[in-house]
Point group: none
Chain length 210, copies 2
């Protein structure tokens, strides 16, 4: 029967993937296990050939020292973590240029969140005032600077009368605005247009449990 897949290519591919996922290289036995090979000697056999072919590098007697020749790093999306969002106070966004912010305040986000977006920033949520938006204490919300707002967008808006900021789905209806919690078991609220000030659009939420 024909060889289902070329083992040697599979090994090379696995090393690349593993390195990208973990930041370091797999061991010989890990390669064997994940490439459907039963013996480390087989991997060694292929590694020697791959090295001779100039496709990988290998440190003698050194564990996890496999290297991919010509490996390049890809950049991830990074946004500045600008401040805190909490009930009872408007979102505070410093006037300094957010794109020259310190590296310490940058956080990396899944590219899927920022894809096609511009002028993103992140805010850390403090308190449980946004549980009805399914946002927990400590969550990080990724915001897009308020441009055009469409019905159904999740936005952060400042309620002037209530003196609080809230995150809800927004729907413009006649003279009023319907703010619909993301939690489907909760009821919407209605406000006059003059009472709300949209601060930004929520494009994503991150929660780091532990």
């Amino acid at each position: 029967m024909p060889r289902t897949t070329n083992t040697r290519a599979a090994i090379l591919d696995f090393i690349k993937t593993f390195r990208r996922n973990n930041g370091y290289s797999p061991s010989v036995r890990e390669v064997a296990q994940h490439c459907g090979v039963k013996s480390p000697s087989v991997v060694q056999y292929h590694l020697n050939h791959l090295e001779q072919a100039g496709l990988i590098t290998k440190g003698k007697d050194r564990s996890r020292s496999l290297g991919i020749v010509g490996e390049k790093e890809d950049v991830a999306s990074r946004v500045p973590l600008l401040g805190v969002i909490a009930a009872g106070q408007p979102i505070w966004v410093p006037s300094v240029d957010r794109w020259s912010a310190e590296a310490e305040s940058m956080i990396e986000i899944p590219p899927a969140i920022g894809r096609g977006k511009r002028d993103l920033y992140a805010l850390r949520v403090r308190g449980n005032s946004m549980v009805d938006a399914m946002i927990a204490d400590g969550d990080i919300v990724i915001m897009e600077q308020a441009g055009s707002i469409n019905n159904g967008d999740v936005v952060a808006c400042w309620l002037k009368n209530e003196q609080e900021v809230t995150l809800k789905k927004i729907y413009f209806e006649n003279e009023q605005v319907r703010l619909q919690p993301c939690n489907p078991y909760m009821l919407p609220m209605y406000h006059d247009r003059e009472n709300i000030s949209v601060q930004g659009r929520v494009v994503g939420v991150l929660r780091i449990s532990s």
Copy 2:
């Protein structure tokens, strides 16, 4: 006599340099040798502190698995999106090797979520059965394969009698287990130990709003 240089900083610096020069990380003993330290335990001592300070990552029992946080490689942490988690059915994790998963099913996560973790995978949440865990329909939960579970961990557990899977904080109390919703306004539930089967530990949640 005054300490010539801060050993801990020297260790961090050496790891960075070594990785840049070699493409992989040094071993504990190599660090010791190049940083003027006589014992691997001293390096271990400082590595633990560096990890706790969030400056490096470290795979447990894995040689040369040191990583520098914020370094380009470990910027793009990727985990396989393995399936769907929904009420009324156990988490389905395909038997195929998750590290040889197709590229299409890989998603990138903020490195902060995966820092120091191993064997992560992602599941997409279907339905509103986990609103009490502050997890919405369409969210992506990042799971760690169930190893040791500690009190307070957010876990996915399968309730045998109820025939449903739920995401809650878990506390082992006497003969019972307390499952505490992440939503602080909801009440805990108590179950017999035999009724629950921990499927994994939640290490993060992603929500991509639009």
